[in-house]
Amino acid sequence: MAAIRSVEEIDPKLNQRFILDSNIVIQFLDKDNLLHDQVRSKMNELFIAGVQFYYPAPALLEIKNYWRLKELHDSIQYAIDNGFNFFSDFQKHFTDIAPMRRRKNRYLNDNDVKELRSLLEKVHNNKGIVRWFQLCDTALKGKMSAIDQTLKNSNIRYTNFGDEEIFLSDEKSEWPKWGTANNLIEKYALASNDAAILNMAFAKRIDGIISNDKDLVFAVKNGAYPSDKLFYTFLK
């Protein structure tokens, strides 16, 4: 099985290829993230040395979902910080949960958003829901395409199963290896997105994967990734 190594141990080689887990791409992009400076600095250093980074489709979905929640969280917080008062139940629930999420370097989660929205649904004359959609439209407008554009202009590349640079022709015919992904979910109880991302890193032309996901670290420690591959993390 692959050893868990610190990114500081990477000995960069020209055209070495790494799959990036979604958490690494998020930390690379989000300047508010506590690990941003460290991740961006190291990745830029490795890129200049010739290392190539790829993010697969499941990672892109996670990145967009993260940004959706971050923008909603920040926008509501911004309103309150500027003295605007939302409907009382909504505002109370947000001010109860938001500090807890931020203490863990996180934002609202899906359940929080559902709960906040349901509180607005109770406001008379549909006023709460109308404002919810106005808030979403203002906070999120253009953000998803901005993420696409940022990634396009960044030094990390999108990859998928049709990528001829990554997948050898004999591999392409048997990819995606759902058997491998299913096995990762069944044996290690990995989330399906994590399993799909790790699955991509099994490709012959991929040297390894970089991840800060504790579940993935745990799975790899217990044999989820072969010994001829490399696994690096920024986690201590």
């Binding site: 690379f28 992009l29 989000d30 300047k31 508010d32 961006r40 830029n44 890129f47 200049i48 010739g50 923008e71 920040d74 926008s75 911004y78 309103a79 500027n82 605007f84 008062n85 409907f87 009382s88 505002q91 109370k92 001010t95 008379h124 004359n125 404002r131 106005q134 808030l135 203002t138 906070a139 407008k141 901005a146 993420i147 554009q149 940022t150 202009n153 960044s154 030094n155 990390i156």
Partner: protein, 60 residues
Amino acid sequence: MNQTEKEIALRQEAVKKSTEAIDKLNDKTQVKANLLKLFKEWEEEDSSDPEASSKKNLDQ
């Protein structure tokens, strides 16, 4: 400049472009201005709405 140095220079340029793109993604100036405009519209709407008292603001 030999080939290797040229390639390194190209990658350095790509990092510069990447950094600029990330800075732009994180720039909140426009969204903050739009949000403030929206909140002001809501406040004006509430001030002219007799039912706005049901909002029960936390500071009241």
